[in-house]
Each structure stands twice: as structure tokens, then as C-alpha cells.
Symmetry: C2
Subunit: 558 residues, 2 copies
Amino acid sequence: MARPDLTDPPPPRSTPKCGQMQQQPLRISTLIEFAERHHGDVEVVSRRVEGDIHRCTWTDIARRARKVAQALDAMALPAGARVATLAWNGHRHLELYFGVSGSQRVLHTLNPRLHPDQIVWIANHAEDSVLCFDMTFLPIVQVIHARCTTVRHWVALCDADQLPADTGIAGLQSYEAWMGCHGEDYSWPSFDENTASSMCYTSGTTGNPKAALYSHRSTILHAYASALPDSMAMSARDSVLPVVPMFHVNAWGIPYSAAMVGAKLVFPGPALDGKSVYELIESEGVTFAAGVPTVWQMLLGHMKPAGLKFASLRRTVIGGSACPPAMIDAFREDYGVDVLHAWGMTELSPLGTVCTLKNKHLKLTDQEQMKIRMKQGRCIYGIDMKIVDGDGHDLPHDGKAAGDLLVKGPWVIAGYYRPEGTSPLIGGWFPTGDVATIDPDGFMQITDRSKDVIKSGGEWISSIDVENIAMAHPAVAMAACIGVRHPKWDERPIVCVVRKPGAEIGRDELLQFFEGKTAKWQIPDDVVFVEAIPLGATGKMLKTRLREQLKDYALPGT
Amino acid sequence: MARPDLTDPPPPRSTPKCGQMQQQPLRISTLIEFAERHHGDVEVVSRRVEGDIHRCTWTDIARRARKVAQALDAMALPAGARVATLAWNGHRHLELYFGVSGSQRVLHTLNPRLHPDQIVWIANHAEDSVLCFDMTFLPIVQVIHARCTTVRHWVALCDADQLPADTGIAGLQSYEAWMGCHGEDYSWPSFDENTASSMCYTSGTTGNPKAALYSHRSTILHAYASALPDSMAMSARDSVLPVVPMFHVNAWGIPYSAAMVGAKLVFPGPALDGKSVYELIESEGVTFAAGVPTVWQMLLGHMKPAGLKFASLRRTVIGGSACPPAMIDAFREDYGVDVLHAWGMTELSPLGTVCTLKNKHLKLTDQEQMKIRMKQGRCIYGIDMKIVDGDGHDLPHDGKAAGDLLVKGPWVIAGYYRPEGTSPLIGGWFPTGDVATIDPDGFMQITDRSKDVIKSGGEWISSIDVENIAMAHPAVAMAACIGVRHPKWDERPIVCVVRKPGAEIGRDELLQFFEGKTAKWQIPDDVVFVEAIPLGATGKMLKTRLREQLKDYALPGT
């Protein structure tokens, strides 16, 4: 700065209210523009429904997303219209992610694992205008299409020559014919960053499905937060395998965060067996993978007998349900892969916490670290959380007090999509329905679902704790703990158990197994042996169904 | 989800426009709230002006920031009022960062290295109401205070008993007395995220200083982006040493990103010599440090003769000016420290690019990687950039074409603070004043400042290239290349050279040294030996001053 040049400042004026920074709305289209401009040659690799391995780049995805946008324009589909998908993880699904939301329509990812009746109900509730589906799901679409009253366009995610002649679905088009006829020239529209971008229905265990309606802003902020070193730590050096489906809360946002950092994306398609996933990890140099525990169980089950190792995989994020400690150990010690627990839900876009260690933990022993790793983790900035008692009073973050977990943040829902009137929030906080502890370092651990916790004589018993003890018995294949009415204690726990094939175990033997493993009053009052425990579409135990089945059950001595 | 429970969807309704996500403004106060709630016991360590090492935690910083806010309230200071600082990196400065901005005032970090006349000019232009200063700068304040016509409150960053009796500054208070009398109970106010949060004047080499006026939104988005793995990769496992001053574009945003991820912060105070910095790195387990090349030169200068090594340091980010390759090598090979080049400017909050490798580069040789590492790096998502020719037409990203570098993004200024009327933007893009190339992988390399590039016969000659060659000669201490008028070629380069003490070198010998190192027409036409090259307050060469000094110079033969 040159000294002699100091002319007098202008005369005083009013106080500045706003900063003078560029107003650039946080829009999903800017992600794909960025990936094309700065990481254009980075690959997107898909194992397709057809069985082959498809290779393209972020540039290809960007170009084809622009064609999708124009195909929607050509249908005269208005802003905000819902475009549904019934699809596996693959490049065409990715193109729809950007083409639909980028052109100001709402991407609605339907879960093909639901019962057809449920899919129909959800498509009608969302009033989907277009439905794009993988050929795997043609039989489902053939069953439901006549009942999806708002869907006017059916698009099969395949080449024109793969479209069967007579599907019975009027006007069915192939994706490649539908979008392929458009050019690559297209400018993404400008609009407010709070505009709806995508929606996802919850797999609630009771009541009708409810939808989270995400915005462009919430999606971008979630992508920033989830790529941070303490979250998924995603970079341009990563090759990322989202095993978690793109119909499960947007594959935990990975399609967006991968575009944000220019990571290579590897899609498994429908092949989620251990062998297929292993081969993809090795052939595509996957460094980071994300999914639910069952997938990793299958993967390790394939690798162990064959003595296989990973060449490139360095870390996995596991969410959806708690990961058994033995699996975390196996990944770390036998395969050199860091396993991170994460916790989230549809209403949180989904990421709430990730279990990465703090500086102070680095000097702990492996065993001490494992105690922390088993927790669901700590908040990423943007999310805040607290636990409250039955009266809504804050409970201490001491790692002991368990209470209802509430969260807030810019990627947490304010309400469900229709009905809009009834806000689920409590003083601005979203009640997660989970019961949890939070320790002084901010690490949260889910102890139960609110509706599954057993309230016995004013104290809470975690159904998950009871189930974990039962399942540690070598003769137990599966266990579900529920509360039953008790004249004195209000509720008492019983445990429903499926025996392993050929295994024998009786009531008293199992109850004895609890001795010394938990407080006496937390030991269940009874064991009910059952053939099977009812499971929902996403593999969660349906305790409501179990309670119905046992509605005539009476506790011994009551 | 229970199947039998599918009641009919509600009747059709209008298309959703907005997502239904929580509206949580991006405010700086939420950073310090987050750090307190989730990383409360993480340390903030400061070497103070007093010479001692001060230790506190994020909880302490949060509590004291709330006291600062109340001290400002007690002064009845309105929203938007400017609170200036003249201070080193330390915990009290950090408290002001959060206390001032969090309470809706504007933090104005003054650069104490400027001439007192410039500080007066800037304080008057900004209309600062309060000025807080480290005791080191008491002599400056004593010189300027009478001329700072808008400042009503003077606060010395010290304990009450350290305040000298007679400073001549009316109403001078000690920081500890000023804010210490307030309680810790305080709720941060709610306001729009585009509200002004802080300001920083550019150290321009011509004209009057100009200010960037940052917003809460731009600051938070910048913090997210700068903590990403491809940027500064900051996490709760880091101990971070910002050697870059908090009066230089908010220490590159590190006070904010450290709070965002719960990192330990280590402040060097005024002691930036090699020994002090080294001792702090070792005693505080610093894993990551950020600063300009001169600081690292001093650090290595201290370590090398003594054979010292780092126990914890893993990476540094170097910005401000290009880092000599030899220094990058030394850090990597001798000390195992990764050196990242970064590029930014006051108008960019400051981060624009960081030079982290991509997946495809990992298999390159060290030498090939070094070629990439020497570039200024690639965009972090949020920033976009392009290069244009003299007519404003886009130039290719081929790593060869050099043009004016333009940037845009939500943490780039839209205009300067007063005058507001004259937008510096060109079609929404901010012209950086740098000349650069961008390669097909998106890596940008600064080749010159726009105003320093020499336009010879329609071609551009990079003054930096010429200087780098000259400075590679063992007899040259410093070199500055400028253009002078030429009747045929419009401009031709000459190089002004300061010889090393005792070294001898003549004009012809130095010009011969250029042979084979650059194209013939890019070799300077003359060498002018000078005693010294004028430097600005931040160590940059003042070529305008040099041009003035040589205004009577004529090229040989013209």
C-alpha cells in the first residue's frame, strides 16, 4: 500500500447491515457443474442390472443430467413436480439425481423393497408425475402402474432396444430414447436455495409412511458437513463405493459429497453379495465404502475362507444399525480398515453423528478406544443434540443418564410433507424417537428406541441391552425384548427368542445366563420361544407386530 | 412400516415450492456454541505478549466471548458498529472474534504493521467505535488516538493491574476490567445470516486501501470448505498453529474452522522467530501449521543446524506467496511434513485454491508430483474460476494459456465497503488482478500480477518467471522485473537486481545466465543494479515505487 496516496475517507454514513459478499444460492446443479469443470475425467463406474461394468466420467454424468433436464422440460413438467425412481445404485440413477433436482423438480426415491401396496400408497401420496425404474423392477411396475393415479410418464432405465415389446404399461419409454434425443446445451435454472430438491419416505414401524422434503440448501450443507475429516473424510483421492442404496436417504448423501470433492464413484447395482462387492472394491481401487452391517458381514464371510485381503480399502462407514464389536475388530486387525460408526435418520438427511476419535483419545489402548468406537459418535457442526427426561427437562451429558434424543440443524426436517400443519418439533428440536446417552466428550450412544424402552417401576430398561445379552448365548439366533403389563411395576421385560437350528436351550438356562451381566431388576421375567421374529422391509424387527402376536400373553404369576 | 395401516392419502394439493427443512441461519455464534458444547475441554494455548504461556479451553473462550458481548451491550454499541483490533494471535483476540461478531457487531482487524498514518486513515474510513490493542502496540495507539475521530472507547488487552497509569489516552480501560465485570449468562442474538460480521482492508499496492466486508454466511461456508480433506483437512485430532496473523484475513479463517471441528488452537503471539515457533510446535503437539514462506524459512533455519526434528507436525499450508521448491522438498524429505500450497486473497475470505493431489497423481514419481505441488492448486467447491484474454474471452484450461484470473463464489466479495456504487465484478466474476494458467485437471498457477505482466509485441512475458531465473543466480539477492516503454515492442522487460553482499556480477554475465532457460524474446533487455528493492508492509515488492524510481530510465539503443 503506497503511503502518500491517502486521500480523505468519504463522509460518515449509516452502519452496514449486510456483508458485501456474492449471493450464490446453494443449488445442487452447482455440484455437477463443479465436478464437470474441475474433475471432468474422474470415473463413475457402475455394475449394471444388465450384469456388465459400465464406465463413464463426471463430464458424461453432467452432460446426460442436462439431457434429463431437457427431457423433463419437453414433458412440460412444472417446477416442483415429483419424479420418482425405483432403481439400484448406478450411473443413470445418478444422472436423475442431478437432472431432476437441478431443473427444479423434486427427486423422489421409492424403496423397491417395500410391498407393492405401500409403493402405490407412497407414489399417490407424493403425487409423482414420472416414474423411472430399473428393468429388475418391471414386474413390480406391471403390478402397480394402473393404481398409480398421478403418474403420467413411465421410463425404463435401459437402452431403446432392451425395452420389451409388450409390457402392458401404456406409453412406456426407454430412458436412453427419452433423454438421448436432447442436446448437451442447457443452462441450469436459478432459484432460491430453499426450493425443494428431493424427498424420501420413512420406513416407520407404525402408522402411514411420512416424507422428508429436502431442500437444495439442506443438501449442500449436509454435503459439506459429511465430507469433513471427522465425518466421511472424502477427497479427490478417494474411490467411493456407496453400498447403501440410493433409495435409502440418498445413499447417505454420497452422490452429492462425491461431486463436491471430485471423488471417483463406484456403484454396485443389484449385486450386493460378498463376492461381487469384493471384486468391485479390488478392481476399482475403492478406498472408502459405506453401508449397513449385513453387507459387511457377507463381504467378510466371502473373504475369510479364501484368505483374501484388501489392496486399497482404508475405511468404511457403518450406519443403519449398530455394528457388532467383532466386526469392527476384524476390519481393523485382519484387514487394516478403519470402521466408523455413524448415526442418522431420514429426517436428518441423514447424517447426525459420526464416531471419529478426538485428539485426547489417540493415546488410549485399543480396548479403551473400542469402548468409544462402539458409540454412535459425536455431532458434526450444523447438528446439535440433547437428551431430555419424560418431562422434557435437559439431562446431563455424563454418559450415564439416558433420555429422549432431540436434534436440530439446517438439514433436519421442520415438518413432514403433508400433513404440514402438525409440526413434530418440540421447541425447535426434532424428537428422534431414540433413547440415548451423551458423554462429556459429546459421544452419543443409542440405548433404545423410545417406544421400545421398558418402563419398570419408574426406571427405564433398554430392550437393546437385554437383546444383546440374549444374543451372546451360543444357542440364540435372534432375540427381541418387549415390555408387558405388570400390576405392580407397570411394565416388565420379556424376551422372545429364536433358537439356532439344532440348538437346545430352555427358559431357566437362558435367564441364568443373564446373571451378573446386568442388574437383577433388568433381567427379563420370562422367555418366549418363537419360530421367527417379524422383520420390516429394511430388516428392522417389527416389535409392534410381535406385541400384537403376544397380546394374550400373561406374565408367570400375574 | 406396517402394511395393513395404509389409509388413503390426502386429496391432491399444490406443488411444493420449498423444502421442509429447519431454517437455521449460519451465524458465527453457533460455532462457539458448538465448540463449547461438544469440545469444551479442548485447549486454546497462547504465547502472550507478556511472554508467558496461557492455557484455557473452548469453554473458557465461549464464556469470555459472552462477557465481551455484554461489555459491548453495556456501551450501548448498536448492531453493525465496528470494533477494531490491533492484536497478535492470542486467546483474547479469539474472544473478540466471537464476542464482537456473535453480538452482531463488525470485527475490524487492523494491521499493526502498516504506517500509523495508514492505520488512522483506515480506522476513520471504517468509522471504528472501539479499538482493542495488545500492549505491544501502545506506542502506536499513543501516536494515532487523537486522530481516530470515531473511536470512543480504547481497550488495552491486559489485566487491570498491567495498565500503565498515564498513557495519555483518555478513558483507556483494561480488557479484563472491561469485560470481566459481566456474567457468563448471555444468549446470542438471532439475525439474518447475511449480516456483516467482520472486515479486512486490502494491502493494495496502489490507491487507497479497500475493505472486504464479510458476512456470517460467507464466514461459515468458508469454514466448511476450508476444513475439507482437500483443503486444510482439519479435525478434532488436530492441534493447529496459525502463524498467519489474525489481522491477515482472519488468519485464513482458522479461528472459525478450528471451532467448527473442535481442534486445539495454539497461538504464537508476537514470537515468530524460528526457536519460539519450534518450541511451541513441540510442546503443544502441533499437527498442522499455516503461514507465509518467510516464517518457515526461519523455522528451518533454526532446526537444521541443531539437527532438530518434529514429533507431531504432519502438514503445513503455505500461502501469501509461492513457496520455493527447495523448502517443500526439505519439509517432505527431511522432516516428513506435507507442504500444501494455497492461494487466496482478502477479497476471497481468503481461500480460493489449495494444492492437494488427486487420485490419478498418487502413482506419479516424486518429481512429477512436485511439478503439480508447485502450482497454487485447484478450487474448493464453492469457488469457481476462469481465465480470460484482454478482450474478456474465455481461455482454455490447458495449462499453457495464461490470462486474467476471475473467480466467483459465496465467500467472494460482491463489492468493496464504501464506495458501494462501483462494483468491481465483471459479469458476476471478481477479477483477481492475477494472471494465471489452469491445467486440464483444474490446477491453477499464478504466472504474474496483471499489472506486472509485460506486454511485448502482443505477447505476454511473466515478470515472475524472469525474477525466478535471475534469483537462481548465486550472486543475486533479490530481483524485480518491470516493463519499460519500447518504440517497436510497446514494452520490454528489464530486471532490477540487488547483489548479494560481496558478490560480483555484471550485466552481460547475468543476461547470459538467461540463455537456454527461457525463450529468447523473453530475456530482459537490460539489468539495473540497485541497492534495495522497495517492499510494502506485508513484504511484497512495490513495483509501482520501482517504476517511479526508474521513470527517467531509457533502454539501451532507444
